[in-house]
C-alpha cells in the first residue's frame, strides 16, 4: 500500500471535527426552534453537516452513523429542493435533535473505546415515515417530487493537478466476475494500488465504501477509472491484474481534454479550476467552455426536472467541492465551517499547556530572585541601566503570563449552550413553556473548572425547570403573566467567577423546609426557628437525602442531587449560595475561585511559617496597642479601630504554630474584608509585597481550613496562602 493510514490521528480528527459540527448544528437548531420553519441557510447547513458526517463516518466504517446521517441528509435534501409547506416544524426539530443525540452518543462510545453498537433503525424508520408524510402532502398538491438524492451532489469544481508533457491519460474499464463478493472492496483496492502510479485519478462509482449500491453498479456496469500518469499501459496492467475478482481490464489511452471532462454522464458537468495554467490559457479555455456549457445548459433547462424552480439554482460561491485526489477521503466543503468562530483553532495537548503554565510560574519566581538578589544591594552601585532593562523584562514577563493564562481559559458559551438544550428537552417533556436566557456567556474560566461545573449546572437547571417553574396553569392562577424563564448568568468578581441559575418560578418554601429539617432532627434545639436566616434555611436542601418533594420525578426529587452538586463545587474550591423569594423565584449562585493565578500578595510571618494573602483582600495594616483590645470571657477578642469593633484572629493560636508573638504591640494587625464581613488578623510581621504563583496544596494532604494553596517565595522557601473567607467562617 502506498500510504500508511494513521488511524489514531484520523480518529481524533474525526471526533473533533464532527463534534464541532454537531455542536454548531445543535445551536443553530435551538435558535430556530421557535420559528415557523427553518430558513434556507439553515436547511443548507444541516444538509451539508449530515453529508460531511456521512462521508467521514463511512471512511471510518461507523455504519450506523453513516446510515442515520444519510437518512437525515435525504430529508433535508427534499426540504431544500422542494420547499414543502406542510412540514411540522416542531417534529422536524425533534427529529434533528434525535439524530444529533444519536451520533453524539456513538461518538462518545468511540472516544471511550466502547463498542459502537447503537441501533439507528428506530430513528431511521421514523425519519422515513416523516419524509413520506411530507412527500405525500406534496403529491397531493400535485407537485412533482425531485429526483432522488442518490448521486446528486453540489457542483464539483475539479482542481486539476499538474499535467506535464510526459503525462499520459488513460480510460480504464474493469469488469468484475458476476459472482464477486464485495466488489466494492476489490475496486477500492485497485484504486489504492493505482494511486502509487497516478498523478491524478478519477473513478466511478465513487462512493465505494459507504454506498452499498456501488456493488451492484460495479457488477452491472463495471468499474471505470480515469488515470493521469507517467506510466505505460503495461505498467497499469501490472497493477491491475485479472484474477478471481477481475475478469477483464480494458485500457484506452485518451487525450487530456477527455480526461478532464470526466465520465460521460449527461448531468455531470465539471467546470475546472485550473490552478497551474497561466491566466491567458485559462481565459481561452473558459471562453471555449462557456460556449459549450451554455449549449448544455439550454438543453438541461428544457428537462422537466423541478416545477417550482424554473431557474437552475445559481451556484453559490460556497458550493464548490474541492475534489481530493486520494480515493475515499470525505469531500470537504469549503464553506462547511462553523459560522460564528472565524478564528482558526489548533488543538493542543493539555499536558503541554500544563508544562507551559509551570514554566511561566518558574519564570515569575526566577524574576524576583534576580531582581531582589542580595548581590545587587551593594551600596553605591549605579543600577540605572540595569533597572531599565529589568523593567523591560518585567513587562515582557507579565505579558507572557497573561497570554499563557488566557490560553487555558475557555468561554462558558459551550456550557451554557448545553443548558439551553436541557431546558428545551425538560420543558417540552413536562409541557411547560419555558424561556432560556444567557447573560455573560463569554466569561472565561479555566478549562477544568468548566468541565467540573458542567454536571452541577445541569442539575440546577433541571431543578429550576422541574420544581422551580410552575406549570402554565399554576402560573395563570397565581396571576403571573410572563412566561417561565430560566436565566444563566456569569460574571467575575473579586477573583471569583459567579455563575447564577435563576428562575421566576415559585421559589423555595421556608416553612416547609424548616418543618422537614425539624423532622430530620437537623435543627439546633437552642435556636429559635425565626433566628435562622433565609440563607441558612435554604442551605438545608443541600444536605443528602433532604427533599420536600412528595413525589419523585424522572428528573429530580429524590434528594440525592443537591448534596452531590455542592460536593462537586467544593472540590474546585467553590461555594453555593441560595437565594429565594416565595412566589417569585429562586437563584442558585455558584462562586468559584479562579484558581489559576499569579496574584499580587503580601507576605507575612508568624512564628516560623510564612503566609501570603492576596492584596485585594487587605484593607489596612494597623499597629495596635493593648488598650484597643477587648477580651471576652469566652476567649474571643475584639479590637477597636477608629470606633469600629472588629473580631480578632490570632493566626498563631488558630493554627497551633510555635514561637509566635503574643504581645499585640509587637506584631501587626491586618484588616481583611471578605463579602462584607471584616476581620482582624494578628501576625508577627510583614515581609513584603510580592507577585506569587498560586500552586495547589498537593492533593495527598487533606484540605485545611483557611489555606487555599501554597507558593514559593523568592528565596525558595514555601509560604502558605491564606484564604480569608475560610478564616472568617
Amino acid at each position: 500500500m502506498a500510504e500508511e493510514f494513521n488511524v489514531e490521528g484520523m480518529l481524533d480528527m474525526y471526533l473533533f471535527e464532527n463534534g464541532q459540527l454537531l455542536e454548531q448544528l445543535q445551536e443553530t437548531v435551538l435558535e430556530q426552534k421557535d420559528a415557523e420553519c427553518f430558513d434556507e441557510d439553515t436547511i443548507n447547513e444541516i444538509f451539508r453537516t449530515m453529508h460531511t458526517i456521512k462521508g467521514s463516518s463511512g471512511i471510518m466504517m461507523f455504519d450506523n452513523v453513516t446510515a442515520i446521517s444519510h437518512k437525515l441528509e435525504d430529508v433535508f435534501y427534499y426540504l431544500r429542493e422542494s420547499h414543502p409547506q406542510n412540514v411540522v416544524h416542531e417534529e422536524l426539530v425533534e427529529h434533528v435533535l434525535q439524530v444529533v443525540d444519536f451520533i453524539t452518543g456513538e461518538m462518545d462510545k468511540i472516544q471511550d473505546g466502547s463498542p459502537v453498537d447503537g441501533d439507528p433503525a428506530d430513528i431511521i424508520a421514523e425519519l422515513d415515515r416523516f419524509l413520506e408524510e411530507i412527500k405525500n402532502g406534496a403529491v397531493k398538491e400535485g407537485k412533482e417530487l425531485p429526483k432522488a438524492n442518490v448521486s446528486e451532489e453540489p457542483k464539483h469544481f475539479y482542481i486539476a493537478p499538474v499535467a506535464n508533457s510526459a503525462s499520459h491519460f488513460y480510460k480504464i474499464y474493469i469488469t468484475f466476475f458476476p459472482d464477486t463478493d464485495m466488489a466494492n472492496v476489490h475496486a477500492y483496492k485497485t484504486v489504492y494500488a493505482l494511486k502509487e502510479l497516478a498523478e491524478d485519478l478519477l473513478y466511478e462509482p465513487e462512493d465505494l465504501i459507504s454506498d452499498e449500491s456501488s456493488i451492484t453498479t460495479l457488477l452491472e456496469e463495471g468499474f471505470r477509472i480515469l488515470l493521469q500518469a507517467q506510466c505505460s499501459e503495461a505498467d497499469i496492467r501490472q497493477v491491475i491484474k485479472t484474477g478471481y475478482d477481475i475478469e477483464k481490464v480494458d485500457i484506452f489511452e485518451c487525450k487530456a481534454e477527455e480526461f478532464l471532462q470526466g465520465f460521460d454522464f449527461g448531468d455531470h458537468q465539471e467546470p475546472q479550476i485550473d490552478l497551474q495554467s497561466s491566466v491567458e490559457e485559462i481565459e481561452a479555455k473558459a471562453q471555449a467552455e462557456q460556449e459549450g456549457a451554455e449549449e448544455q445548459e439550454a438543453e438541461k433547462n428544457e428537462k422537466p426536472e423541478k416545477i417550482e424552480k424554473p431557474e437552475k439554482p445559481k451556484m453559490a460561491p460556497g458550493d464548490f467541492v474541492i475534489q481530493s485526489k486520494s480515493p475515499g477521503k470525505p469531500k470537504k466543503l469549503a464553506k462547511d465551517k462553523p459560522k460564528t468562530e472565524k478564528a482558526a483553532f489548533i488543538s493542543v495537548n493539555v499536558q503541554k499547556m500544563d508544562q507551559l503554565m509551570d514554566l511561566i510560574g518558574e519564570l515569575v519566581i526566577s524574576e524576583s530572585v534576580v531582581l531582589q538578589n542580595p548581590d545587587l544591594k551593594v551600596p553605591g552601585l549605579n543600577l540605572d541601566n540595569f533597572n531599565k532593562a529589568a523593567t523591560q523584562m518585567a513587562k515582557i514577563a507579565t505579558d507572557l503570563q497573561n497570554v499563557i493564562m488566557s490560553m487555558r481559559m475557555v468561554p462558558l458559551t459551550n456550557l451554557f449552550q448545553k443548558m439551553n438544550r436541557i431546558v428545551f428537552d425538560v420543558s417540552r417533556k413536562l409541557g411547560k413553556d419555558i424561556e432560556f436566557e444567557m447573560i455573560g456567556e463569554h466569561t472565561e474560566v479555566d478549562k477544568n473548572i468548566s468541565e467540573k461545573i458542567s454536571d452541577p449546572l445541569m442539575h440546577l437547571v433541571r431543578n429550576a425547570v422541574d420544581h422551580g417553574i410552575e406549570t402554565n396553569e399554576e402560573r395563570a392562577e397565581s396571576g403571573k403573566t410572563d412566561k417561565g424563564k430560566v436565566t444563566l448568568a456569569a460574571k467575575t468578581e473579586a477573583g471569583k467567577v459567579w455563575i447564577t441559575v435563576s428562575d421566576n418560578g415559585k421559589g423555595l418554601d421556608r416553612t416547609k423546609i424548616l418543618a422537614k429539617a425539624k423532622k430530620q432532627g437537623l435543627l439546633d434545639p437552642d435556636r429559635l426557628e425565626s433566628s435562622y436566616e433565609d440563607k441558612e434555611v435554604f442551605q438545608f436542601i443541600t444536605l443528602p437525602g433532604f427533599s420536600t418533594n412528595e413525589q419523585v420525578t424522572e428528573y429530580s426529587g429524590r434528594g440525592v442531587g443537591m448534596d452531590v452538586v455542592v460536593q462537586n463545587i467544593q472540590s474546585i474550591g467553590g461555594t453555593l449560595e441560595i437565594e429565594s423569594t416565595a412566589g417569585f423565584g429562586s437563584s442558585m449562585i455558584l462562586k468559584i475561585p479562579l484558581t489559576l493565578a499569579i496574584i499580587d500578595g503580601i507576605v507575612m510571618e508568624t512564628g516560623t511559617t510564612s503566609f501570603v494573602v492576596e492584596t485585594s483582600f487587605i484593607k489596612q495594616f494597623v499597629r495596635v496597642t493593648e488598650e484597643m483590645m477587648i477580651h471576652e470571657p469566652t476567649g474571643e477578642e475584639y479590637v477597636m479601630i477608629r470606633d469600629e469593633c472588629y473580631p480578632v484572629l490570632r493566626i498563631g493560636d488558630w493554627y497551633g504554630l510555635e514561637d509566635y508573638r503574643s504581645n499585640v504591640e509587637e506584631g501587626m494587625m491586618l484588616l481583611f474584608e471578605v463579602e462584607g464581613k471584616t476581620i482582624c488578623l494578628f501576625v508577627d510581621k510583614l515581609i513584603g509585597k510580592q507577585e506569587i504563583v498560586v500552586k495547589p496544596i498537593p492533593p495527598y494532604i487533606k484540605k485545611v481550613k483557611g489555606i487555599s494553596g501554597c507558593t514559593q517565595l523568592g528565596d525558595g522557601s514555601i509560604a502558605l496562602i491564606l484564604d480569608p473567607s475560610g478564616l472568617i467562617d
Binding site: 510560574g361 511559617t609 496544596i697 498537593p698 495527598y700 494532604i701 481550613k705 501554597c710 525558595g716 514555601i718
Partner: protein, 176 residues
Amino acid sequence: MSEEREGVRGQDHDVQQGKYMTFKSGNEYFGLKLQYVSEIIPFQAITAIPETEDYIKGLINLRGKILPVIDVRRRFKQEPFEYNDRTCIMVIIVKDTMVGLVVEQIAEVVEIADENILPPPTIMRGDRLQNKYVYGIGRVGDSVKLLIDPDKLLNDNDNSAAEQTNDMSDDDEREV
C-alpha cells in the same frame, strides 16, 4: 551506600524487578521496591502545614515542584527520631502521587529473589488480622528486611498496622 540525588528513573523496568531500596528506621531495616523510588535528597527545610496528621511533616520545594513529606517513624507510630546529618528524604512516586519520606538512614539497594521473600507472620491482635504496610519479609544474607507496600503506606489510615509492625519486628529478632 546510596549517594545523594540518586536518580533511578529511566532504568528499564525489568532491570529493577527484584531490587529493593533499603533503609533503617529504629532497629529494623525496611525495603521498598526500587521502581517506586525516584530520588534521594539530603534533608532540607520543611514547611509545616498546620492542622495535619502528625506524620505529615509538611511541604518541600523540589526544583520547583511542591511535595508533601511524611515521617516514616511517625507513620508507624514509633518514637520519632532526631533529625541529624544522616537524615535524608526519599522521593517516591506511587500511582502519580509524588511524596517524600523522611528516612533516618539510607542503607543500600539489594536484590532479593522472589523465593527469598516470605509472607509476614499473621498476628492476632484482638480482631485485627491483616498486615497492612508490610507485605513480606526478605532474606538477605543473615538479615531480614521488612518489605513495605508504598501504596498502603500513603493511603492506609488504620493505626493497627503500625502496632503489628512493631510486634513482628520483635518476633523476628527473637527468631533470629
